[in-house]
Subunit: 358 residues, 2 copies
């Protein structure tokens, strides 16, 4: 029987060669994120990262190290990236969604892995996606230890793909921020988001593309003439360096009592997760200006303001609950590190809710 | 304007309530995997696992701890699970794909996270999937620290879903198995697989469903009358307990020189990843009987035998390269732990290849 009568794996829809061509570019991206902690294992089955604390690989010497792990995707922001044919933004989003969560515990992110599944593996696109993930990792001082790329034409329709990210960080046991330190009178600080980040895109897409019928390269006059692409594809802000640096400034005093990453659920859904049940978080809406993109979505939905605050970050991507005596110096430090800081409000007696005041 | 003229997030295709209903069942599954290492953080942004080595949470006291991380999916085995309406098998597969990889380094798996993305979130199905992941974690003595479930109707077609898994283990730096210990004359042992495991399903599905036109509940006479479902949906074998126990028996002597998890690429693709470039791995095909399912696929493809060995595990799911003087006692121990062990062959001078002999 001639050889080409045989069924091969390639004929059944999986392109192994294309995978090989891409691997070299991916390896370069990975290595750009590797510091002295990483042990290189060519062709290894897994990625390796040293946590031996006596060899000065870490800024802190962890006495009771606790691993902190989180996973997330980027939701349907991927659909917008795909319309624009751009793969750089969502790579950073993917890292941000998980490392910002790890940060909330008071941990320093250490390592990241990505899973990428796609209808058809186009090596240059995959390499671009992974390079964006690596860029997110570099900006988070986090090693991209590995990943998986799967071509699955029977699960993902033509043009479709999905990504999942996994981050692990480390924190000393007695520095874990679990919300129990939050007290009435504590000050609530907000850090500006860079835009919509990676939540609420089902609603964004419905309003922008279905209701308003806009195309990805159309300009929006109400937003100063920027394109839909530019308005929507802003990478999620990475708060890692600012927060790790801030926590490093207070190694004895516990002045940061809780933190929250503002994702799906918005301020009202996420801040209560780290606040005791006998406290409220009173936030003054006058503390910051809601960015134009959210105003645009609210108007054209139309979407009720309450719903906007349940779905979107509304301009605040990360929240810190801090001891009142240190609020000024923390605000100053974070501003110095490059954050835009809003004094959102304070902790009062209550029932574990966020109260938005005009 | 009446309230129901407003666009809400739910109308745009995301069902938040269904998500809430499911969370309780998922939490129970997660907690069933939690030992004393895990720190419980209700509503936490991330999962926490202690690695403070002085408190007897670990069997070994790691002197120079190295984290070992791996991620993988289960490929299109998911399509077969979906045809069968069964979500238990692939959950265990998902854990196995990553933890068996972590094991290869000589590491003990510690924690696992899963990402699950689906067209439409059916709470009972998701809960079943996560419970299966938890079962895989329990069988691997690994904590399921968290996960993400995403409903994305615009990316996944009706009925479709995908899963990604992420595992982290730990190993002492001087016990890392990187293949450099492999010597000519070393003995190659193989551990029986439980079936096809989670690789090669694009080819499996083409042969079984497209070429032979079989349905999921059809019986296959050539395989003793078992159903297609039963032949294909066998969970990937978890080698964790046997291998961790084995390595624990040799804490000073380094008798296991390398290991390989036999996934996509088969024996010929995976074993060379852990063998020096000046060695060959000579494997005698008479050392074991290729299970009937592979013979069936090979015959009905038809698929060339070389291709079969490049795509499938052919009955050998995990390989150990061991010091010849200890081969007998290792074989005996692994058999005692419940593994079926084949003495596949040995390491010879060569060029980094697997040589299959009749």
């Amino acid at each position: 029987m001639p050889k080409n009568d045989f069924v091969t794996y390639e004929q059944s829809g999986v392109n192994i060669d294309a995978n090989d061509r891409m691997v070299e570019r991916i390896m370069r991206s990975l290595q750009s994120t590797h510091g002295p902690r990483v042990i290189n294992l060519p062709n290894g089955f897994a990625g390796l990262l040293r946590i031996d604390f006596n060899e000065k690989l870490f800024r802190r010497n962890y006495k009771q190290p606790v691993l902190v792990a989180s996973t997330d995707g980027v939701g349907t922001k991927i659909k917008v990236a795909q319309m624009a044919g751009k793969y750089d933004c969502v790579g950073i989003d993917l890292v941000a969604m998980s490392v910002n969560d790890v940060l909330v515990i008071g941990a320093e992110p250490l390592l990241f892995l990505d899973y990428l599944a796609i209808h058809k593996l186009v090596p240059s696109e995959i390499a671009e996606m992974v390079e964006a993930v690596a860029e997110g990792c570099r900006q988070s001082d986090c090693a991209l230890l590995g990943g998986e790329t799967a071509e699955m034409p029977d699960i993902y329709p033509e043009g479709e793909y999905d990504m999942a990210g996994f981050a692990v960080g480390i924190v000393d046991r007695n520095r874990i921020l679990d919300g129990t330190a939050v007290r009435r009178g504590d000050v609530v600080l907000g850090l500006a988001s860079s835009g919509i980040h990676s939540n609420g895109f089902a609603l964004v897409r419905q309003i922008i593309f279905k209701q308003l019928g806009l195309k990805i390269h159309d300009t929006i006059d109400e937003l100063g003439g920027i394109t839909v692409e530019k308005a929507l594809l802003v990478p999620t802000r990475l708060y890692v360096r600012s927060i790790v640096k801030l926590l490093g400034q207070y190694r004895v005093k516990k002045v940061v009592h809780a933190m929250a990453h503002i994702t799906g659920g918005g301020l009202v859904g996420n801040v209560p997760r780290v606040v005791p049940k006998d406290c409220n978080v009173v936030i003054s809406k006058s503390a910051w200006t809601v960015p134009p993109i959210f105003q645009f979505l609210q108007k054209h939905g139309p979407v009720e303001e309450d719903e906007m605050f349940r779905v979107f970050n509304m301009g605040v991507g990360f929240v810190l609950v801090v001891a009142p005596d240190f609020a000024d110096s923390i605000e100053e430090k974070l501003t110095h590190y490059g954050e835009t800081v809003y004094r959102l409000g304070k902790i009062t007696p209550g029932t574990g809710k966020v109260v938005l005041k005009d």
